[in-house]
Amino acid sequence: MLHPSRRSVLVGGAAFTAWTAIPTIVRAAGPRDPRFVSIILRGGLDGLALVAPVGDPAYESVRDEFSMPLEGPDAAIALDGFFALNPRMPRLAELYRKGEALFVHAAHTAYRERSHFDAQDVLENGTGSAGHYQDGWLGRILRTLPVDERMATSGAFAAATTTPLTLRGADHVVTWLPPGFAEASDDTRARLMMMYEHTDPVLAKAMAEGIALSGVTGSEAESGAAVDAMLQGMDAKGFQREVVSAATAAGRAMAGDDGPRVGFLDMSGFDTHLRQSVTEGRIGRALSALDLAIGALRDSMGPVWGNTVVAVMTEFGRTVRMNGSDGTDHGTATVAMLLGGAVKGGRVVADWPGLAPNALYEGRDLAPTTDLRAVLKGVARDHLGLSPRVLGVDVFPGTQTLAPLDGLVRRV
């Protein structure tokens, strides 16, 4: 069994083969027609509860009765001998086994305080400081792409009420929420469409766009059926249904030839100050929902999953020790994930800082060792074909010296 020393780079399963041949100026993405999805877990996911460092000698003492069980019906899923996955995530485990999931542990944003709102701003705007609302890093990526690029022309799909900060700055973002009200009949829609065509081109265009969108995400009945299939036999809460609906709609929209190439989803429920537990409790419920959403996204994307990278991230991690309410408080580093057929997965990448008391950030948090922006830059360079210069100046301003992580994406 691999027992990594502190600060070594971990490579679960396969070796960390650096492939450096990727051209950085020439557009590498071309014929692959890549797709990219950003999933934000709001509230601050406890990285230790999702991917537990069961091989760390200090792990059991800090988590005590809430350590991940290694045997029994709820046993953790071994990833690489050092890390183990929460058993509430069977679909994610399957992706990992197929080499389509990669974990980056002790990942962090540029933010070091403890406010959710500011931390989410920093995560989404990619600038290193809160209070910048004009545009987000993914919006800037889309704006930077050549105008004839498939990814730029087909726009982005956001399962949100309004354009999320991550995507602000992009020219064409379609927002979508699970159908809120009983739908008007096709007949009413057709009559209205005809009225707009004769009276108001702006409304006619918007109506046509809405109808086209409901065509790709499926009618309420169709997507409802897909969601039911996914939740079959489960005692699904309203909240699970909501995230599965959003993931299904995003996946269906992105699966089409004419569909958007970029997607955005978010989900809350990770601010587990109280009764977090580990396989049960709040984190168990939130992770179950996340696992269902991941499965729904994969299933609904169909064959295009093979050209997809999904980045799953959160604004910060949580305290290493449990608090007095069986929960954890706001912390610093945590785990991030890359999922999809284009991911060179089946491994955990970590410059592991350790859980010993003197290794903790400010004596309480998992220490930050891998900048999330280096991960995203690696994906943006190798999957979407952006140059490191653009990434360091325009997309993540001021990060010219932060090298993109190599080898995150499969070579075609």
């Binding site: 406010s115 709102f117 809160a130 209070g131 609302y133 009420t161 309004t162 354009t163 900060l165 973002v173 379609v174 927002t175 979508w176 929420l177 159908p179 809120g180 009200f181 009983a182 739908e183 008007a184 009949s185 007949d187 009413t188 829609r189 009559r191 209205l192 005809m194 009225m195 707009y196 004769h198 009276t199 108001d200 702006v202 409304l203 918007a206 109506m207 766009e209 809405g210 109808i211 969108l213 409901s214 007095g324 309410s325």
Partner: protein
């Protein structure tokens, strides 16, 4: 050619009106009825007291639970205390949403209401943090409505010193290094969020001539303005113990005033600054008339703002007095909340469950008091039309008509609301609908309800 009455009802009002829209004189007359913009509700002191007391009880109970061996009884007491605090928040929100909607549907001064919506959005707060959710509606009533035909400087001062704004933009816990608290703790915690937005969004505007140094100085002026909803033993709106003493220099002017007077002096000068007049004039013109509002309209508004010392009734009058504001081609999409109110007015449905209002606003893309950033809703000409938002509007109209439009004769209503402006194609679509329900839905979705 659209009639001026329909332009007035849509561009300056809350949708088509039975019997035709108002004249320019009718609109001007609304500006003399400042009391008509008022919505009654609990005052700030009452809400603060209720919240602060419940929050204190919660904190005491939480401490007792943590320090007292985490007994089950103590846990229950804490959870009850949290319930009680959150109940105050939920009730306040429910009452404010119901009151705002009912006022919008029943007011005979819809132009005033549009001005309220403009200014409430200009001084946007987001009802996200618990204490902000408690007072967001009060903020609109006491800081915005009360000054909507008054002076800009008064509205500015009322908005900036209201706890909703102070807490939303993180000023509540800001303190300077030489404040009594700063000295005792041997550090400072100056938050510049509010100072930055105050200059960039509320007054001078981007490129309005300020620098980072001005933001730093203004942030120090703002220290001590806690909003009075903090869990401290004593929590006044302005807390001298947290205020950084000393003279500050902003935009070249020295402010030697002490305590609260310092901020008031700064705000007076910012309200009177030429950049503020230019910023407000441009935004006012674009949001009422369109993204391409002509320069001479903007210039007339700017001059009015300067000449009258920021008189907001005069500003509104200048808008409706200008020919460019009356071009008959609609430019802007009616935002979801305004459409929601217009639907309520057309169906005479003032008493609607606030949970439905809240959900409808959110589903159509404009959740109440939850703008995407301190800049508020952008209100560009075709904003709010993305994705499937038109379909959401149809579905919303469908529910409203089912619940509140039983006795409505859409054919007659169409003629009453639009008179000679009724587009023959709209008339035909409504007249040939397959049933009464569909006819009314189609009428509510017709361009005069969606574009202005």
């Amino acid at each position: 050619m659209r009639s001026p009455a329909l332009t007035a009802a849509t561009r300056f009002g809350l949708g088509p009106e039975p019997g035709g829209g108002p004249s320019r004189e009718d609109l001007a007359a609304e500006l003399d009825h400042k009391e008509a913009a008022i919505v009654r509700g609990p005052d700030l002191a009452t809400l603060r007291e209720a919240y602060v007391s419940a929050d204190r009880t919660l904190r005491t109970a939480a401490r007792a639970f943590r320090q007292g061996g985490r007994s089950e009884a103590a846990e229950m007491a804490r959870d009850d205390a949290r319930q009680a605090r959150n109940q105050i928040m939920r009730e306040a929100e429910a009452d404010e949403i119901a009151a705002r909607y009912a006022h919008g549907v029943t007011t005979r001064h819809p132009f005033l209401e549009r001005l309220v919506l403009f200014w409430s959005n200009h001084f946007a707060v987001e009802a996200q943090k618990v204490p902000v959710r408690v007072v967001a509606g009060n903020y609109e009533r006491e800081a915005i409505r009360a000054h909507v035909t008054g002076r800009f400087g008064d509205m500015l001062a009322a908005a900036i010193t209201h706890p909703a704004m102070l807490l939303y933009l993180d000023n509540a816990r800001s303190f300077g290094p030489n404040s009594p608290i700063g000295r005792r703790r041997g550090k400072s915690a100056v938050n510049e969020n509010l100072a930055r937005e105050l200059l960039e969004l509320h007054t001078l505007g981007v490129g309005g001539g300020y620098e980072q140094a001005d933001i730093n100085e203004l942030a120090l002026v703002l220290t001590g303005w806690s909003g009075g909803m903090e869990p401290r033993a004593r929590s006044p709106v302005f807390d001298r113990r947290w205020h950084e003493p000393g003279t500050r220099t902003i935009l070249g002017t020295r402010y030697p005033q002490k305590g609260e007077d310092q901020l008031r002096a700064v705000l007076d000068d910012l309200a009177a600054h030429p950049s503020t007049a230019a910023h407000i004039a441009g935004k006012f013109a674009r949001q009422f008339v369109g993204d391409d509002a002509p320069d001479d309209l903007v210039e007339a508004l700017r001059r009015s703002f300067v000449d009258t010392g920021g008189d907001l009734a005069e500003l509104a009058f200048t808008l409706i007095a200008h020919p460019a504001a009356w071009v008959d081609e609609p430019a802007k999409v009616v935002p979801p909340y305004d459409f929601l109110v217009a639907t309520g007015r057309a169906l005479k449905a003032a008493d609607v469950d606030q949970r439905f209002i809240r959900r409808a606003a959110e589903t159509m893309g404009q959740p109440m008091w939850k703008p995407p950033s301190p800049a508020g809703w952008a209100y560009k000409d075709t904003d709010f039309l993305g994705g499937d938002s038109v379909l959401e509007r149809v579905d919303f109209a469908g529910i409203m008509v089912r619940r509140y439009g039983k006795g409505v004769d859409a054919r007659r209503l169409a003629r009453s609301l639009m008179g000679d402006d009724l587009d023959p194609f709209v008339a035909e679509t409504v007249d040939r609908a397959e049933d009464r329900h569909q006819a009314t839905v189609l009428l509510l979705m017709s361009p005069p309800f969606q574009r202005r």
